[in-house]
Amino acid sequence: MRPSTANNAPAVFDDNPPARVRRAFWRQPSVLPGFGLTMGFTLFYLGLLVMLPLAALVLKAMDFTGAQIWAAATAPRALAAYRLSFGAALIAAVINLFFGVLVAWILVRYRFPFKRVVDGLVDLPFALPTAVAGIALATLYAPNGWVGRLLDPIGIKVAYTPLGVVVALVFIGLPFVVRTVQPVLQDLNKDVEEAAASLGASRWQTFQRVIAPSIMPAALTGFALAFARALGEYGSVIFIAGNLPMKSEIAPLLIIIKLEQYDYAGAATIGSTMLIASFLLLLPINVLQRWSRLRSAEA
């Protein structure tokens, strides 16, 4: 039965859509209304709130000569800040890769008391304001704090050192790895593990050869997200870091210091450097992840 096209009947049932369904060259026709309105608002809001200010960063950086930019981007204090930010973010992301997979594993595979509470707590770093996490971690890991008191006698100083930066970044990044690996583990087909076992593989061999490759793309995604978040993190770090120039001063803090000194060139340059560097670092990870997903899809 062909529906009438006289009134508001949809063209979707019709093999030959009537002329009033406008064929835009960049979108497929649809009977649903509101594309122009919602897309228009989306682009307007995105442009105003995100694209225009980001363009300001680029335009502002162009106010300065190449020599000025190079000097600001490669000042010793800035280099020390990049080294700390990238180094601490990398270490924290590696720690999170390990513990994130571990936590996801026990949440999916094992039964234990308070499992639901632990599952909910994993999201705490998403929900807890970073400044609150920052002062709490600084208080805990200070030499007279609950944890610091235990570590101080054995010569480990966490608060007000680069190690403190790593601790804060581990806190911030944990949910990324857990939440990307968890659903993949849940959907993992047990048949493959049974097949491996029936062919004589030990449990460790099964994990290495069967489970690990399947969760690798998700784990790498989580790693990349945790790393990216850690690179830009500010609130949870500054309280525990000590913020000594050249030693425990992260790049985002240096941006704020430059702004407070009205050194806009310095702030814009360090900001752009961080943005570009993190994109360059995340690009190969995304490519790697896509490659590994394709490979596992073929297998």
């Binding site: 979108r27 707590l121 929900a127 609150v132």
Partner: protein
């Protein structure tokens, strides 16, 4: 039968780990969770009540603290509804229609997540600040955005921008367009279709996104810190007030205000857990 074979002569052991291995893995994970997640949360409340309940109440009743609470509610009260409208509009356009450049658009919407909050603040200073691109023009109109409330609202909007859209896009993509098309064929107009068909399908995902958006809006620190100017009682949000109190070594007051934010986080987690538990299947796409 493979099932039977797996249960003969020790093969079953290879389908899971030994009790000892399980215990070690669970123990290790629990120690990690306790050290990194439980202790900080406990520390906030323990420090807040370190000098008793009276000192706690005094710290919160302080007029400057109350002004910070008010500003936090204003910032979240403006940015969350606007980002909600944006999220619904963007996910309608992206999930219900096919067009070129869709993946680019989704990437751009996600952008604020990958930008450091400090850089988010910085770009607004470079745009609206006294030396910024629009600074002189704003000054001539006598409008102040940076070091004032509008800047705080803008910075909050930027960092919470993707939350609702990100929750809704995968959910609405999974649901497809058939139900809406049916509604249209039965004579519903666009708004009726959205309200009667789409909205009931996405309401829990929407609430979930709003919940996360609000938690971030009230807790944002880095971006707001850059544009705030830290004027006591005027441009200090709760997280900024926590920083000031902490840097003045006023620990009880700092942790008292922090405990309000931590309570918000706990309520958010409980509501989130409740939604996932009760309506998990309706949020499935967004949790994937």
């Amino acid at each position: 039968m493979a099932f039977g074979r797996a249960h003969t002569d020790g093969k079953v052991a290879a389908l899971t780990e030994s009790v000892a291995v399980r215990a070690v893995l669970i123990g290790l994970a629990m120690v990690f969770i306790a050290a990194f997640l439980v202790l900080p949360l406990v520390a906030v409340f323990s420090e807040a009540f370190a000098k008793g309940f009276g000192a706690y109440v005094d710290a919160i009743k302080d007029p400057i603290a109350l002004a910070a609470v008010k500003l936090t509610f204003i910032a979240a009260g403006i940015s969350v509804p606007l980002n909600l409208i944006f999220g619904v509009a963007a996910s309608w356009a992206i999930a219900k229609f096919e067009f070129r450049g869709k993946s680019v658009l989704i990437t751009l919407i996600d952008l604020p997540f990958s930008v450091s909050p400090v850089i988010a603040g910085l770009i607004y200073v470079l745009l609206f600040g006294a030396q910024g691109l629009l600074g002189p023009w704003l000054q001539s109109m006598d409008v102040q955005i940076i070091f004032a409330v509008p800047g705080i609202v803008l910075a909050t909007m930027f960092v919470t921008f993707p939350f609702v859209a990100r929750e809704l896009i995968p959910l609405m993509q999974e649901q497809g367009t058939e139900e809406e098309e049916a509604a249209r064929s039965l004579g519903a107009d666009g708004w009726q279709t959205f309200r009667r068909v789409t909205l009931p399908n996405i309401k829990w995902g929407l609430l979930y996104g709003v919940l996360l958006c609000n938690a971030r809006a009230m807790g944002e620190f880095g971006a707001v810190s850059v544009v705030s100017g830290h004027i006591r009682g005027v441009t200090n949000t709760m997280p900024l007030h926590v920083e000031i109190l902490y840097s003045e070594y006023n620990m009880v007051a700092a942790f008292a205000v922090a405990s309000l934010l931590a309570s918000l986080a706990v309520v958010t987690l409980l509501a989130k857990g409740g939604l996932e538990w009760r309506y998990g299947h309706e949020l499935a796409a967004s949790r994937g």
